[in-house]
Structure formats: C-alpha cells, structure tokens
C-alpha cells in the first residue's frame, strides 16, 4: 500500500528535477529546508529523525540535493521527507512537506477492531512494518 502523507502524495513520486524546482520555490520564499527519515510510517508518528541540520542560508537547491543523495544512500529503505520551515514571525511552522524517498515494498496497515461495551467497536490502524524491531522493518 502506497503511503500518502504530505503534499503531492497522491501524485506519482517526484523526480529529482521536480524536487529541485520545489526546493527552489521554498528557498525563493525564504524557507529553510531540512530532511527527515523514519521507518515508522504511522500517520500519528510526527517525530521523524532529522538527517543533518536544517539548512538555513541556502541559495540553491544543489546543496539540498547533495544531502538528499547521501541520505538516500544511508537509508535506501526508509521514508525520507523534505520539510520547508518558515521562520517568519508568527508563522514559525513548516509550510511545505513531501516525501522524497520510500521503501520499495510498503506492506501497509492493518485495521484492528476492538469490541467495546454495548456492541461498540473501536477501530485503530497498525503498520505491518512496525511488527519488526527498528532498523529491520523494510
């Protein structure tokens, strides 16, 4: 099952050329870009590991692409996302975030139903990948 999180996630994966153009757009807006990775794709997992440091003062996407290449080499089977952070006063939040690398096999999620009092049913989802310990998931 293909993970859909962040911007563009219902489109086919962006090519490097397209990523570059998105980064350029971010930089032109004065946003700082950074890379994060994880192997726990649950939508509530908002704390991904940061790869390197956030890149303030970047002028050109080439710098980020260099890091992205390294990050993909280190974590070929992880999800990697690119986040653009707007530090403008009172924004101070990510403005754009999209996935730039995903594992070749994505096992997807299981829906768990829990019987509850009065014939109520509680639903929860569980990622098959997280059955295995960290770093062995994909």
């Amino acid at each position: 099952m293909r993970l859909t999180q962040g911007t563009f996630s219902f489109l086919p994966d962006l090519t490097d050329e397209q990523i570059k153009k998105q980064v350029k757009y971010c930089l032109d807006n004065g946003w700082a870009v950074n890379l994060e990775y994880t192997d726990d794709p649950h939508p509530r997992n908002t704390y991904w590991e940061m790869y390197g440091q956030p890149m303030f003062d970047l002028k050109d996407p080439a710098g980020l692409m260099m890091d992205l290449e390294e990050c993909r080499k280190t974590f070929p089977n992880h999800y990697i996302r690119l986040t653009a952070f707007d530090s403008t006063h009172q924004w101070e939040t990510p403005r754009l975030s999209f996935i730039v690398n995903r594992p070749p096999e994505e096992p997807g999620f299981q829906v768990t139903r829990q019987e509850w009092e009065g014939r109520k049913i509680r639903y929860t989802i569980h990622s098959y990948a997280t059955d295995k310990p960290e770093s062995q998931r994909y």
Partner: protein, 311 residues
C-alpha cells in the same frame, strides 16, 4: 531570441542547423557583459592581467553558449580560480565581481559570494570539521565560494590538524559539483605556492591561476581619487601633489599594502581634516567639508620619519 530564453543557458534546445549563422555581436549584446566590463574598467584601476583573464573567460563561456546551440558537446569548463598577490591588490574585490560576472554569463545560477576563512571550514574537535565544511559548501552552491588565505587550511607542523579533512571534502566537491559552485582561493603568492606543493590535487583542479600585480604610483593615485569620490571628498590641487609625494615615500617604507595602505591613509586624512575644521570653528561651506587640504596630507608621519616607520 528574448533575454528570458537566453538565461536558459544550459538547457538543451532544438539544435541549430549545421549551416546556420549566429551573430556573436548579438550574443555579446544580449549577455550584457559589456556593462560588467565597463564597470570593471571604471572601478578597478590597473590589474591588466586580471582583466585580460576575465575577458578570456567571458569569451569562452559565450562561445560555449553558442556551441551548445549547435549541439556541439563540450564539458562545462572548470572555473575554479586561485588569486595570488600582495596585500591590498584587490583580490577580494575581484572575487566579489567574479560572482556577478559568472552569474551574468549564466555559469553560476545565483551569483552570490560566500567568503570564508579557515575558521569557517575547520572544526575544533574530531568529527566537527566535515559537517562544518559541508554546511559552508551547501551555502555556496549556485554561487562562488571564496576562501581567503587558503594556505591556513593546511598546517604541516601539526599532524592531527583537521584542516586536511576539510581539504579532502573541498577537493571532492570541486571535482563532482563543478556545475554547482566555483571555488576561488586567494592568498600571498609564496605561501600559496607552498600550499599547492603539499596539496598537488588543488593545483590541478584549479584551472586559473591569476597573479595580481602590485600597483604603480600612478595607479595608486587614481585609486585614491576613486576612493575619495566614493566618499564625497576631493583633494585640493596642493593636496594632490602632496599625496603623490606621500605615495612615493610610503611605497619605500615597510609593510606597504597597496590599495589598503592608501585607504588607511585617506581615513587618517579625513580625521585630520575633521579636527582642523572643528578647531577653526566658525562656519563651513560645502567645499570646506569635502576638500582635503595639503596640510591634512603633510601632517602624516610618513613625511617625518622616512624609510623606517610603520605609518
């Protein structure tokens, strides 16, 4: 061709026919490079070898641009440079210009200059250097990375110095990311030569070694005029003569740093002029405020202690 199309210098377009003709004059006009040359001639006195090299580079890039229109493949030329010369010969100034020029020629995408020294590249602890150097490189991408006094990167007397690590990363980036950034190193000639001797990788990766000559007294005179004009000052006629004399004498003395010495001398003369005006009290005119008099020049130590002081 509109200038908007012109800026897509590296994109592959439909190649021109074999017998097509491209007017180099038009290409030259469109690149607006003449403006840059004029500015260069106006702002930088002397420095003929430097200007010649800049013209050569500009010509090469323009011709390359036309060649690409004919679909004639050629590698992007390496434009890493090394500026050597005595203090105050305009190395940093030219580096700044170079970023603009290369941007105009579509060689670099952004045209900004990131100016660094050893401190910005080399860390203090093990494992600190690589991220630091990479961070700087990332910032410089799309523009020019200017490493002032690059020889400090290499400290042969200390085997555990982290400079070497920084050098290795730089070398790798200079080779692999040629399209993304231009590295310019600057420093004094003899020390730069020694630096290259111990790091032959650098010498071969830098295509352009440009030597900045010392300025002649006449050139220094013109430079002083330019500096004063920028600050809305001028010499009176006597002051001009006195300053020419000052240059002659100053050049004989130790620690002479070309244009930098001139700038410092002018700054001190402005101080003396301000003091003179202030002590005279009374009213001043615009002319008084902008004119440096011979007395302001002659009060310099250079005229009192010949050939042994560090004025």
């Amino acid at each position: 061709m509109s200038s908007a199309e012109d800026t897509t210098g590296r994109d592959d377009k439909q190649p021109l026919a074999d017998d097509a003709r491209v007017d180099l004059d038009v290409v030259f006009e469109e690149s607006q490079i003449q403006e840059v040359f004029d500015q260069l001639d106006h702002d930088l006195i002397g420095l003929t070898p430097v200007k010649t090299r800049i013209r050569e580079i500009a010509a090469l890039l323009l011709v390359d641009h036309v060649r690409r229109q004919f679909n004639l493949a050629s590698d992007t030329p390496t434009l890493h440079m090394c500026f050597t010369g005595n203090p105050g010969t305009g190395k940093t100034t030219v580096a700044e210009r170079m970023a603009q020029i290369l941007h105009k020629l579509n060689y670099v995408r952004e045209g900004h200059l990131v100016s660094v020294t050893r401190d910005d590249l080399v860390g203090q602890y093990i494992g600190h250097t690589a991220p630091k150097t990479k961070e700087v490189i990332k910032r410089a991408m799309g523009g020019v990375l200017f490493i002032d006094e690059a020889y400090y990167l290499y400290r042969p007397e200390n085997e555990r110095d982290y400079g070497q690590e920084s050098i290795e990363i730089l070398l790798q980036v200079m080779e692999n990311n040629r399209d993304d950034l231009v590295v310019i190193m600057a420093g004094y000639k003899d020390r730069m030569d020694r630096f290259f001797e111990s790091n032959p990788g650098f010498r071969s990766r830098i295509a352009h070694h440009i030597d900045f000559p010392d300025y002649s007294p006449d050139e220094l005179g013109s430079i002083s005029q330019l500096m004063l004009a920028d600050e809305n000052y001028q010499f009176s006629d006597e002051a001009k003569t006195a300053f020419d004399e000052y240059i002659e004498r100053r050049m004989q003395q130790p620690h002479f740093a070309n244009a930098r010495s001139i700038r410092n001398a002018l700054d001190r003369m402005r101080l003396r002029q301000a003091k003179r005006l202030f002590e005279a009290r009374g009213s001043v005119t615009r002319r008084d405020l902008t004119t440096l008099e011979a007395a302001d020049v002659r009060a310099s130590r250079v005229f009192v202690e010949p050939l042994n002081s560090d004025a």
